[in-house]
């Protein structure tokens, strides 16, 4: 005859250490969950293509003679300087890919917590609202920096390796700071943008559409409004254009549209402010009225 055993609860005297980064478990789980999606992995790998193309460009720029027949007079595009980096960072293609990666991988950051009622579990632990938001923002930060700061610094290092001298660095000593600065700006804006839209629905598919739709629609709206009003200030309606304007400013280049970059800064900052207000309201325990 089988023995019936009952397991009881007994006190456990474990060692408790101070948690220095209480937001880290949120970040870790967010990144882990993103990589569980097969499509996301493919997209993530694909988003490195621009960095790879620009790296090849760097290599070719140092061996123009060897590739003369291939580039056929396009060598002016391979003039490596701040403009080259500005083109990498603020080109529509890279921004589009980053937003796509974030829509797939980070769209559910808050939406899934709302859907699964997880906020009450988080906030009944030693975790504050700021820690929670910082953890979620760090997930966005991870994906943005992986495609901006990391390739940017790698491109600078490879430029020095391919050139075999520090001349480039001495010529543009502020370039690494620009790379880091623009990456940080992009991270902050996209973190607020993604979390704002993620907090608006419990369905991560709707959030995906919202993130992507808002990004694309803002650019379409810019095109339509500009054709009606014939003023470059309509560029302020476009999220990608505002990011490009700011990118050009950070890399010391002429902004693509005839609008002061500070206006684009203001628009992006306003979106961040709006996001902070919405998040402050939305991130609280689920209040059920029966």
């Amino acid at each position: 005859m089988a023995t019936v055993r009952e397991k009881g609860y007994s006190h456990w005297d474990g060692r408790l250490c101070e948690r220095r980064f209480p937001w880290w478990p949120i970040t870790r789980t967010g990144i882990q969950l993103a990589f569980r999606k097969k499509r996301f992995k493919v997209l993530f790998a694909g988003a490195f293509i621009p960095a790879f193309v620009f790296l090849v460009g760097l290599y070719i720029s140092e061996r123009l003679e060897d590739f003369k027949t291939i580039i056929q007079g396009s060598d002016r595009l391979l003039n490596i300087g701040p403009k080259y980096f500005s083109t990498y960072f603020a080109n529509g293609g890279l921004l589009f890919l980053i937003v796509l990666v974030l829509a797939f991988g980070a769209g559910g950051l808050i939406a899934d917590d709302l859907k699964h009622n997880s906020l009450q579990l988080y906030f009944s632990r030693p975790l504050g609202k700021k820690d929670y938001l910082l953890g979620k923002m760090s997930v966005v930060g991870f994906f943005v920096l992986v495609f901006t700061a990391v390739p940017g610094l790698v491109l600078i290092i490879f430029k020095l390796i391919f050139a075999g001298s520090f001349k480039f660095f001495l010529q543009y000593p502020w370039l690494p700071l620009s790379v880091l600065g623009f990456s940080a700006l992009l991270t902050v804006f996209l973190a607020f943008y993604i979390l704002l839209l993620s907090a608006l629905s419990k369905n991560s598919r709707y959030v995906f559409i919202l993130i992507f739709g808002t990004y694309i629609f803002s650019n379409v709206a810019f095109g339509i409004l500009q054709s009606i009003f014939r003023t470059p200030y309509m560029a302020l309606f476009s999220i990608p254009v505002n990011l490009q304007q700011v990118g050009a400013f950070v890399f010391g280049q002429k902004p693509p549209h005839n609008v002061p970059a500070v206006w684009s800064f203001a628009v992006l900052a306003a979106i961040c402010g709006l996001s902070a207000a919405v998040l402050d309201r939305k991130i609280r325990s689920v209040e059920v009225i029966k």
Binding site: K7, R15, C17, R28, Q120, R284, V288
Partner: protein
């Protein structure tokens, strides 16, 4: 005894809906049952204690520290919410270890604690299965596991027994009682009276956002003046017994049950009646088979108080 959890003039509105209304309450060590119908304000009260909501008026303190906006208070609290709170795409193990990381344990200790909590709720075998595939009872148990995994001194359990089979309920009740014997504090809510009755006799009755009564069930029953105590005496000669009590000023009413063998007495002076009953039974030589108090239970107390 000092209060572990103290609420003072606590009120909470949801827009125009009043969730809690001027609640002042002290909860001591041991098990306290929070009892009330759906929508009474039990979950609201628990969320205020666990710092998930800010009171509109009043304060809640846990071991003397304010609950709102004090994450450090929650190191010592285990909360088991009523609703499902899972990421279905995680395994039971990942769910538990993920939540344990918030407490700053070393990696090995996280594993040990998760394994132990899973073992306690009998889910060790299913730890690597996705929560999506868990049954209702298993989900309830893993929810309980996350509440106890960090070894809290205070357990807040919102309807912890719902969805469990009778065996699971029995086991969980025993586990909760073990917590009490270790000098911990357990606040458990339910709208199922027998569940609370099985756990504790110390209850807080909550209805429409107000505390109707607080204390031991017999004590609260004693305070309800409007409803006399019912005492049921089954004997071979109920009518003879009734005849002996006619004219007794302590008795309000006597009726006979449909079985013809049971006398039901209603009295405000229960102890006095029992004193007299013993003498009458001995004098008349009546054989008494059973004496019960049909309304000396939580169900009756609750119904009297909420006026149902």
């Amino acid at each position: 005894m000092t209060a572990v959890i103290a609420a003072s003039n606590l009120s909470k509105w949801y827009g125009n809906v009043l969730g809690l209304n001027d609640v002042s309450l002290e909860i001591e060590e041991g098990i306290t049952g929070l009892l009330g119908p759906n929508g009474a304000g039990k979950s609201t009260f628990m969320k205020l204690i666990t710092g998930q909501m800010k009171p509109a008026i009043g304060t809640v303190t846990v071991r003397g520290r304010r609950a709102w906006n004090s994450p450090e208070v929650f190191r010592g609290i285990g909360f088991c919410p009523e609703q499902d709170v899972f990421y279905d795409e995680l395994t039971g193990w990942e769910f538990l270890t993920g939540l344990l990381r918030f407490y700053g344990y070393a990696k090995s200790e996280i594993g040990d604690r998760a394994a132990r909590a899973l073992d306690i709720v009998d889910l060790a075998k299913d730890k690597d299965r996705l929560i999506r595939g868990y049954s209702r009872g298993m989900r309830q148990r893993i929810k309980f596991a996350q509440a106890i995994a960090h070894d809290p001194g205070i357990l807040i359990l919102d309807e912890p027994l719902s969805g469990l089979d009778p065996l699971g309920k029995r086991k969980l009740i025993r586990l909760i009682k073990e917590f009490r014997s270790q000098g911990r504090t357990v606040l458990v809510s339910s709208h199922v009276l027998p569940e609370i009755e099985a756990l504790t006799s110390r209850i807080v009755l909550i209805h429409q956002g107000k505390i109707l009564a607080q204390g031991d069930i017999p004590y609260i029953r004693e305070l309800i003046e409007a409803h006399p105590h019912q005492i049921s005496v089954r004997s071979s000669e109920p009518r003879t017994l009734a005849a002996r009590f006619v004219g007794d000023p302590s008795i309000q009413k006597m009726t006979f049950a449909s079985d013809g063998r049971t006398l039901i007495v209603e009295t405000h002076k229960r102890d006095e009646f029992f004193g007299r009953l013993t003498g009458v039974v001995l004098e008349a030589g009546i054989e008494v088979e059973e004496i019960t108090s049909p309304d000396d239970n939580l169900q009756a107390v609750f119904e009297y108080l909420v006026g149902k």
